[in-house]
Symmetry: D3
Subunit: 69 residues, 6 copies
């Protein structure tokens, strides 16, 4: 299976937090930068992930802004 989303950033789960409907997952990339994701709690439970797991942050290119420092 190939997905059109251009961005697959591989990293390690470092933190998870769950509410009734939503969950927050923090992923650390290879260079130490962090990516935070909010997904539904149902998706979170279906993925069955926990800190230490290797995952990818997947992001559609249209959702990425650019900041000029």
């Amino acid at each position: 299976m190939a997905l059109s989303a251009r961005n697959h950033l591989e990293g390690t789960v470092t933190d998870v937090e769950t509410g009734q409907v939503m969950a927050e997952v923090v992923i650390e990339l290879g260079d130490g930068q962090e990516v935070t994701s909010t997904i539904t709690r149902n998706s979170f439970e279906r993925l069955d992930i926990e800190p230490g797991d290797e995952v990818a942050a997947v992001i559609k290119a249209s959702e990425v802004m650019v900041s000029n420092n």
Copy 2:
């Protein structure tokens, strides 16, 4: 100024491509992974960026999916 968007991934512009309305910007992170962004051509011209520039990819947490390898 502080922005609610949780994800600011610093990197270097490696490629840009422009159409009539949209532009595509490729950013390489510190660990060699790439992030692709599509923004309007007007935003692209206002930011005045080109390959080699240090920028950040800014992404709202709600736009980040998680993939369980």
Copy 3:
């Protein structure tokens, strides 16, 4: 690989249109309803899809609105 995005709608590509940076893909579902997607032209070419192909429209739950008829 499992992706957190909850929505995978299977269908058949019925139309494609390409610009310099973006491409539009129309997918017909099993009940005749259509889903339109805009992705980058680069993603479109990498997926190598054309009318008649079986694909899935993948959508993060946070992007879906509800309309009460």
Copy 4:
């Protein structure tokens, strides 16, 4: 009123779940496929929907990815 969002998928609400700020709504399409939506709890209450109601899932084309099976 006409909305630019290209995708209006008609279906029936099959499940709802509410948290303090967010709500999750599951909609079954005519061909049996399901679409999950997360909206604010306030929007959910304003729409006044419950399982069995006929609604539409509305999605902007830029939010739809394509997966090549």
Copy 5:
């Protein structure tokens, strides 16, 4: 018809620009602030809008970030 999207900002179209696949629409609100939208060219043509028309910018709450000046 009621839509879950919380934000309907009424204004006047002040500028439009079209590419092959995408179109950009600029809307001026009552207090002089501007909202820029990118939609597909097909949606733009279906809406049949031009400068001077009264429209609304519709935005899902999950897409709005907050900046603390």
Copy 6:
């Protein structure tokens, strides 16, 4: 710092509501129209905002739909 996101709508926070993972912020613009935003509770706490504060609603152009009244 300049951000590619085209839309920075200045206003005043009029209401906030927090859940375990998400928070909802309501911003009133100069012409009395309201913008609702959902961000993570962590972002909300980091921004340290409360009713009466001057903030901006920041929105990527690709997330804005147009409605033809």
